[in-house]
Symmetry: C2
């Protein structure tokens, strides 16, 4: 086993110890669909998504530094925003979150309710990175990147650590892939547990930059944020660190893409047969499983979150 | 502790051993709503509801008898039908299920898919008991009653047994109440665990026969099957055995009623905040909790099932 893998796996275990008082140990579920299937429903995680794992690991680490940072900043329209807001509030650090103007008002309200300052005015998907650098410089804030940060990656790897403790004989593990934080952390945990485990990332065909980066062997960037039901994985490219884990170190075996129709069908199966109220992004691994795109064998699906837009889901359920 | 309670609690433990290979141990969930709340999501149970616990306990017991029964019969338009079909198929007994003509076609198909013979033609809510007696006599079948059967009651009590093993310090436990099988089994497990535990049944105000039976001290019967979102508790009266457990032996402390609007709100909270795709009946205890109708203290809610009509739920989500 490589020292790269050994070292990062040790840091995932440290992350698990660090975040344990703050996050929930989600269960491992079996289903009526297939006796070989195991689900890790991160929709039951604190704030409704796995994102608190990485955010707490990063922010607890920052808060332990001397001198203490002035505060943290994040850019997100979704689950990372709430995770950073909660983690910062828990350690008493101010948090500023930039959220694009067209974001779901419910998510903005939830982020504010967790105590973060939110700036929305004039923020777009295109200019948000620039606005973030301005605010960081002006206020001396520390960035909590949604995926390209080792502490975030190690925190996200704790979900697979729990899943493999509950189901040690899994042969395949699949997660959604956007920027690659969850997939990288999962790959570290899974390959350290058993190098023969097949680790698969699932993304919408409309947002296939991870697939193209895997095929090309270098980071490929989408020209614009894609339109997809899976609004949690609209990032235009993976990061340098997640590329290093997933593809340079070959800890991910495969990237699989699914169509919008396959995502919609998976949301319906999740709600109707599994009784899990998943958001479309959280259903990506299920979509790949249901459409026969995952390798065969005992399979674990990390279902990343449940913060769905109810209007969208109501429409999907009626189809 | 009464010998009645001791004896029935021992039979719940025997039921747990008997059904263990066939049912799922559902998790105990914590939530972001209230740190003192514990959920037992029976929507993740085999077939999507707790009903398999009682059906397996009854049918495994029947199948062990000499001579073996010719087969089993049940009357149900919902979760009990699927539970009996699966349990009978598992032990190789024929099952006949009478389902009213106006039942949800998806549930009829699911019951048939599990290997049961289904008769629908000419079956109504009003004549189904009479038709059942005709078929029992003609074919020599043994009835698996949905609630007024000791083996069924003991099987249903295994859900609370698991919940209390996971959360031994609960002060309040609430379940839906229709015929009273789940509530009776829960009361046996909870009062045996700790006689100070408050055991509460929740029913729709539109179907308040258990409430009125509790107040009157005798079984009260509704004039007709009520109309309610909670279509799993449309029974017109509780049974002799469930009355004996709940009210004659005072193992249930209170029956609480909730309005249709409170049920709808609970389904939305379940789907939106808890990420549990519950059926309205399964959300009854949550409705009582959210509307402040449960006693104070560390509370466990047994959320009985998830087999919702998606059209109904899509409408609720849009409100």
């Amino acid at each position: 086993m490589s020292s790269f893998l050994e070292e990062h796996a040790a840091q995932v275990r440290q992350a698990a110890d660090r975040i344990r008082p703050h996050v929930r140990r989600t269960p491992c579920l079996t289903t009526d669909l297939d006796s070989g299937l195991r689900l890790k429903p991160e929709c039951f995680q604190v704030t409704g998504s796995f994102k608190v794992r990485g955010a707490f690991n990063a922010i607890l680490s920052l808060a332990a530094q001397q001198p203490r940072p002035a505060g943290v900043i994040a850019v997100s329209s979704g689950n990372h925003a709430q995770a950073v807001a909660l983690a910062a509030a828990s350690v008493g650090l101010p948090a500023l979150v930039l959220i694009p103007e067209d974001a779901n008002p419910a998510k903005v309200a939830a982020t504010r309710a967790l105590g973060a300052e939110v700036i929305q005015q004039g923020i777009t998907f295109a200019n948000r990175e620039e606005r973030m650098r301005e605010e960081m410089a002006a206020r001396g804030l520390t960035l909590v990147h949604p995926f390209d940060d080792w502490n975030v990656i190690h925190g996200q790897g704790t979900a697979a650590l729990e899943l493999l403790a509950d189901a040690p004989d899994l042969e395949v593990i699949a997660t959604p892939v956007g920027g690659g934080g969850l997939l990288s952390g999962t790959a570290i945990s899974a390959k350290h547990h058993n190098p023969a485990t097949r680790v698969v990332g699932v993304e919408p065909a409309a947002a296939d930059d991870a697939y193209r980066s895997w095929k090309a062997g270098s980071i490929q960037t989408l020209a614009a944020a894609p339109t997809t039901l899976a609004d949690g994985v609209r990032t235009t490219s993976i990061g340098a660190r997640t590329f290093e884990v997933m593809f340079a170190n070959c800890l991910v075996d495969e990237i699989v893409t699914v169509t919008e129709e396959e995502i919609a069908a998976a949301v319906r199966v999740a709600w109707n047969r599994l009784h899990l109220a998943l958001e479309p992004t959280g259903a990506l691994p299920l979509a790949a499983y249901l459409s026969g795109k995952l390798p065969k064998g005992r399979t674990g699906l990390i279902l990343s979150g449940g913060n769905a837009n109810l209007e969208t889901v109501a429409t999907l359920l009626r189809r």
